[in-house]
Amino acid sequence: MRNFILFIRRFFNLILFLILEIVCIVLIEHTNTLQGNDIISSANTVSGLVYKKQSDVVYYFGLRKMNDSLLNENAFLRKQIDSLHSIDTLKDSLVHRKIYPTDTSLHIVKFADYIYRTARVINNSTNATDNYITINRGSNDGIAKNMAVISGTGIVGRVEHVSPHFASVISILSSKQKVSAKLKNGTNGYIIWDEKQPDVLIMTDVPQQEKVKKGDSVFTAVFSIFSPDILIGTVVKTEAIKKNTMQQIYLQSSTNFHNLQYVYVIENKMIMEKKKLEDSSGKK
């Protein structure tokens, strides 16, 4: 026993060093899973507050840019509304007709699918391997984990940590995150980030016979966590992979991650039901 105590006294520093390093490694290991830990993240109360105070100051310098982007978005939404008005719903209501009176499968389900909540970005990073954004809304405002986050111009990321007043969002500029995407003609692929350039995304798994032109737009696919048809970016260049018959498409991200100010958090009301179904069928 005495020898043991002497041993500990002699190597106390080394033992403490090793213990602390192991604590760190355990922490890193825990964040790399999807659940993560909410305490050591910028969603925690203290760091959230510091970031909020800073954002309150810096906020005023970006007002002009923000106004412009909101105007652009308004114009875009107006255009969409107008295009919806031009559809004659009475003529197109073939789906309303039931083939058999007892068959109820063909009536329109009103998917009041998505709830949009606005949030202000209070911290933002673009230079790490996994980039996070902190927003000033939390579970008190109805934000929950794994909700999708978009900006006025494109997709941003997914909510990862939530506290009562803040939430941290892992952006698509991250090695952990893949987003399903589709080309204009409906070809599916997914978006990854190469961890180098904050504006360049890569779309993979597109067959080589798809002809993709420079400047084509890429949108979110129906089965991603985002609502469908949100712009992701425009094609900069394409690159054929020799090993298989796929090609890589480099995209210019439509979201400007350097000056994100406001984002929308999308709650998909149907996603729990969908997930439950998919999980239960996956188990068998």
């Binding site: 390093e21 355990v26 941290s168 961890e195």
Partner: protein, 181 residues
């Protein structure tokens, strides 16, 4: 000023400097697709470098852990900064005793600075530990050695700018008058 209050103040200043100012500056040296990676300078290890000479190793380790976890909390990198900070806190005493001519216990009540050590030894001391810190941090962050060149590029670029900011910090916060604190 009391040495404890002074170090607590320095802790706050360095954390705020790192988190609120330096983390917002995305340095890129030239702007091309597939060009240079974006990076930020890390000056917070300076807090460990500037602790008084007689701080025991366990104290350094615990302070390093607190410092690292605080930075991690702000940057959402749970444990990565702490890991690197603890390593340099552990090695600090050895590096200091290797660089200084006299025994460490003879520097009573002093702290490592350009005044007590001179420019050259202090720069070697800080450069060594900062390179180590950056190397460990970026290795953990990237976590694959397949593109080793990219890792080295990131470490070098970040290290050079970190040293630049550390020198600026030292020039700003070192008292020029002869009265020693």
């Amino acid at each position: 000023m009391n040495v404890y209050i002074k170090n607590i103040l320095r802790f706050c200043i360095i954390i705020l400097l790192q988190v609120l100012i330096l983390n917002k500056i995305n340095l890129r040296w030239w702007n091309e697709p597939s060009g240079f990676p974006v990076f930020i300078p890390y000056v917070y290890p300076l807090f460990i470098l500037l602790l008084p000479f007689e701080t025991p190793v366990w104290g350094l380790l615990i302070l390093g852990f607190i410092l690292g976890i605080t930075v991690d909390t702000f940057m959402n990198t749970a444990g990565m900064h702490a890991c690197a900070a603890i390593l340099i806190a552990y090695l600090r005493t050895n590096v200091l005793s290797a660089l200084l001519p006299r025994n460490l216990s003879e520097y009573d009540g002093l702290q490592p600075s350009i005044k007590t050590m001179g420019w050259m030894p202090f720069l070697v001391y800080s450069a060594f530990l900062i390179v180590l810190h950056h190397f460990v941090f970026f290795t953990i962050e990237l976590w694959n050695l397949s593109n080793f060149g990219f890792l080295l590029l990131k470490v070098t670029a970040s290290f050079l700018t970190s040293m630049l900011f550390i020198i600026v910090y030292l020039l700003l916060f070192t008292r020029q008058s002869s009265s020693r604190v």
